[in-house]
Amino acid sequence: MDKNNCIKYMEKFFKLNTDILWLKNPDFLMQSRIFYYRSNFKGINDIKIATAKSKNISDDIVFDIYFIRAEFETLFSGYFKIVPVTSAAETMFEGVSKLCTDLGEYFYYVYQNSEFLKIYFATGSVENALEHHNRKKTKEGAFDFNKFKEDMYLEISSYSQEELREMVLNRNLTKKYVSNFIKLNSKCSEYVKMFLINILSEVYIRNICIINNAYNVKNYILVEAQNAKVNSYPKVCVYDVIEKAVKENALVLVKFNYDFKTGG
């Protein structure tokens, strides 16, 4: 399924409602910069712009779309925050980013990374989607955050205070590290842009710890221009790690890899 088909499916299964008068026909292709540059939105820090509901009411998938007013160099001019309202919506967005700048790109990304949405589109049944999601989550070999955390903390504890001081970058300068990464790298993919927005957001900033290459650490999230992945579990979605880290108040190590190609 390509992006256009995915949006058609979103429109087939969901209805968008808004209380904003000038937003006559909200759709799943909206971009955050449209709101950012509207003069009547200039004084607003965050606002609910739409609510999406499953057309089949008994499926009870409901989520809100908020516009957040923030700007960061070439990365974004405002962004959207998805807030699941019902438990089915929570399942749909489990393990994926909830921040984005372009809804069209975003829902295609969610489709590619959410087993729930894939099955829901294929069968139209929320029960099927939930069952498939739960089966995948509990099957043998599924990602175990506690093991990841334990391995990472064990690894960190093997370094001396001095070594950690050399390895861990200044936690007050996350914005600077993201800014330099954008300037000194090739153009970031939409997926990486989304991850960088997450790193900069208030939700994750306390749980992120950026490291350099001083030592050969294994358990971290590697961010490159085209991809962001969990180094020791490359098939696991980075949000599976970060979201659980937020819930458990744990740290996640993040390492940037610079390619020094034309900045984007």
Binding site: E166, L173, N180, L184, N212, Y258, D259, F260
Partner: protein, 186 residues
Amino acid sequence: MGIQVVSGQKVILTESLESASKFIFKMEIENRFKGTFDMDLFAVNIEKNAIANKENIVFYNNVKDIGKSILYSEVYDYEIFEKKIDLDIRLLPEATDKIVMAATLYRNLHHADKDKETGFTFSAVNKTTGLKIFTLKGSIPANGKETLVLGEVYRYKDTWRFNTVNNYSDENLLGVLNNIYNAKVY
């Protein structure tokens, strides 16, 4: 004390190939804007064929080059940010043409701070003798400009020297490497 250098001034680091080869280059920046302004020190090994291996660009994220001839460290204190490059000239690869020392400038300033400036020093110490060789003092307008080229370590006959540049650029580090040094990163 060492000498105070200005743009264009050349300083001899090693008198001969047998001289002590270890040096510390240190940049100190006043933390005048409480973390909303920073300078990041880069040491870029440019080879004789005008290319730079990205593994040999040493800075906060890549703290050592392939041959461990250039090592980076930093300390963030309340009043001063200190960024240091340890250079062992004898460990540099044969292909080295020069090491460009440059600083990228980062700002996330409050509006009231935009017309101010902050001071920095860049100095070199001979690690074997402990003697300071030179100091470059300057001040940076908080607003504008992307990169400050501090200078270059290069070989002339049997000596290694430092050429003071102290020149600001509107381009980012890649633009400077490309347009001033005609160097490509691979």
